[in-house]
């Protein structure tokens, strides 16, 4: 996979040099081979370096990388079985949110995630990962299904946001998101949400009210997409990098603020460089959190979840919040 992001240009240059040397094939001399080895080590070193200190905007670019693994990729790589369920039983089947019953090391879970699509055809079918109300209502149906059968819910967040269209307003985009927030807050089964790419606004939160919120380390989660925030704040979407920095949207920021419960490591150079390893890390993290959450009695689980969200917020002269 080529290095194709702006800030990866130095590494891309190294790669080009490696390729030039390798094109000699059998005509490669011993010192050429030595140079290739050196360059490859340098690629590794520089990649590691770059990704160790991603700027907020760089992180946004990595999180949106078009080769980043998506919900369907993780399902394929992590689950021993997956039975996809379709439709909201009301209006339609929105492919920007996929979901079904999965087996994760023998544990039955309800797996629900945004799907952006890989090639242009799938991307269009998935509306580029921007759900309509029926997508959220499908997710809602699957979550109450999971509750009935005592399956933990695992969600994968990867969206720019809910789709903004006239028909979405007609069918109640606000209502659909709001209802999910309430139902998830009170769902009588464990919920683990993971930001696997972009965490965009209410459209992300609508499948993100969880006992544990995980984030892959190169992802972000924001109250509004940086472009939208820049437009709202400064009426100019080109200030998106400034918005990304000012709003502290990176996974490490959210962990530091206590909003994200755990970071999931990515392969060097981002999840898109090694889907298998990304999936292995994610699977390990999910199993760890599910092991713990499924041991908690439901009433306590719900009280904990309530307290978790109840206590989010920073204000001055705070009177200690009490949750019974």
């Amino acid at each position: 996979m080529p290095y194709d992001l702006d800030f990866e240009r130095p590494v891309a240059e190294l790669e080009r040099r490696i390729q030039t040397l390798q094109r000699r094939g059998e005509r490669m001399r011993p010192d050429d081979r030595a140079q290739v080895a050196t360059l490859e080590r340098e690629v590794q070193r520089q990649t590691r370096e770059l990704y160790r200190s991603l700027s907020p905007w760089q992180r946004v670019q990595v999180a949106r990388h078009r080769h980043r693994p998506q919900t369907s990729d993780y399902i394929r790589l992590m689950c021993d079985d997956f039975f996809e369920l379709h439709g909201d039983r009301r209006f339609g089947d929105d492919r920007s949110i996929m979901g079904g019953i999965a087996s994760l090391d023998g544990r039955a879970i309800m797996l629900i995630g945004h799907q952006k699509g890989h090639d242009i055809k799938e991307r269009q079918e998935c509306n580029f990962g921007m759900p309509h109300p029926e997508g959220y209502r499908k997710a809602l149906r699957l979550m109450t299904h999971a509750e009935r059968f005592h399956m933990p819910v695992v969600t994968f967040i990867d969206t720019q946001g809910a789709f903004l269209g006239l028909e979405d307003e007609q069918r109640g985009q606000s209502q659909a998101i709001a209802e999910n927030l309430l139902v998830m807050a009170r769902l009588r089964t464990p919920i683990v949400a993971t930001v696997i790419g972009e965490g965009g606004s209410g459209g992300a939160l609508a499948i993100g009210v969880a006992d544990s919120l995980l984030m892959l380390e190169n992802t972000f989660y924001s109250v509004a997409a940086p472009e939208a925030a820049a437009t709202i704040l400064w009426r100019d979407a080109s200030f998106a990098p400034d918005a990304a920095a000012a709003m502290k949207i990176g996974a490490p920021d959210l962990r530091d603020m206590g909003l994200c419960d755990a970071l999931v490591p990515e392969p060097v150079g981002g999840a898109h460089r090694d889907h298998e390893m990304a999936a292995a890390h994610l699977k390990a993290a999910l199993n760890e959190h599910l092991d713990e959450l499924t041991r908690v009695p439901t009433a306590i689980l719900l009280d904990r979840r309530y307290a978790k969200f109840r206590n989010i917020g920073v204000y001055a002269r705070p009177v200690p919040a009490t949750v019974d």
Binding site: Q173, G202, A316
Partner: protein, 293 residues
């Protein structure tokens, strides 16, 4: 959050010069131009008509205290959580100013501490917990303070089995508090989930405008949802949608009447009837409560 620079009230003094007014009582010598029908209205008459244009029925925005006065029995409103202040958790520095300075400005201009006021009150003798937004305070946007106030109001309703009324007027979440703002959507919705389990009524009143993260959380979770006529209501504003789909929208898109026609709310209620309609609902719920307990 849509912090529209368009003022809540566009006021024109009688000599013709223009002035931006807050939603507080206007000097009686002013005329006000209705943004809908362009009629010049005498401010005093407009005040008397609960800030509804006598000609076309346009509902001007109300400040939080005007709204409280409109809806509650005299001297029954007891504010709580009024001590809460924004804490600027991200040390947010704008390109031109800072969040801290914006908040200070708005405080000075509106006399409010943040975009919502919450308290206990009575409506036609019946007890309620009431939360009211003020659009003049950073577009009625919801950050940590607003979320905390609403949550305390909802929890009080649950604890005391008192119906909760929230009157929204908001562009959505407050950008300057980042993810803390987004999470207030989950926080308030979680509280409403417990209120619903307890069987305590929640009435949501949507006023102009109710959009973004506020519409996509508590505002659309009412057991009953009412809206004032002609209010902008939706997940996105019409201009945002037009940009997204590259089409002009019909004139009534995302109005109260539009969401009523699409099954999203229960009724559009004229401002002069709002208090009576709330009282009617409260009495019906009280009758149910009496039977059940």
């Amino acid at each position: 959050m849509r912090d529209e620079s368009q003022p809540a009230l566009e006021a024109v003094s009688q000599n013709g010069s223009s002035a931006v007014a807050t939603a507080r009582p206007l000097p009686t010598n002013l005329a006000v131009k209705c943004p809908n029908c362009r009629e010049l209205l005498v401010a005093k008459d407009l005040e008397k008509n609960v800030k509804v244009c006598q000609r076309c029925g346009h509902h001007f925005k109300l400040s939080a205290w005007e709204r409280i006065q409109l809806l509650t029995d005299p001297d029954t409103f007891k504010e709580f959580a009024e001590e809460l202040r924004s804490a600027d958790p991200l040390s947010f520095v704008d390109r031109t100013t800072s969040y801290a300075r914006s908040v200070a400005d708005k405080r000075a201009k509106t006399g409010l501490e943040d975009a919502a006021v919450v308290g206990r009150a009575r409506v036609d003798g019946l007890p309620v917990v009431l939360a009211v937004f003020d659009f003049n305070f950073i577009g009625g946007s919801m950050g940590s303070v607003v979320g905390e106030k609403l949550t305390r109001a909802i929890e009080m309703g649950e604890r005391e089995r008192t119906p909760v009324i929230i009157v929204s007027a908001s562009g959505g979440a407050r950008m300057q508090e980042g993810m803390y703002s987004l999470m207030q959507m989950a926080k308030t919705s979680a509280a409403l989930g417990r209120l619903a389990e307890a069987g305590v009524p929640y009435i949501s009143v949507l006023t102009d405008p109710t959009t973004g993260g506020v519409s996509a959380s508590f505002a659309f979770l009412g057991d009953v949802i009412l809206a004032e006529p002609g209010a902008l209501i939706g997940f996105a504003g019409p201009r945002v949608i037009e940009q997204a789909i590259h089409q002009r929208l019909p004139a009534d898109a995302n109005t109260s009447e539009f969401v009523l026609a699409h099954g999203m709310i229960d009724a559009v209620v004229h401002r002069r009837d709002l208090r009576a309609e709330l009282a009617r609902l409260l009495r019906l719920y009280r009758a149910a409560e009496t039977v059940a307990h």
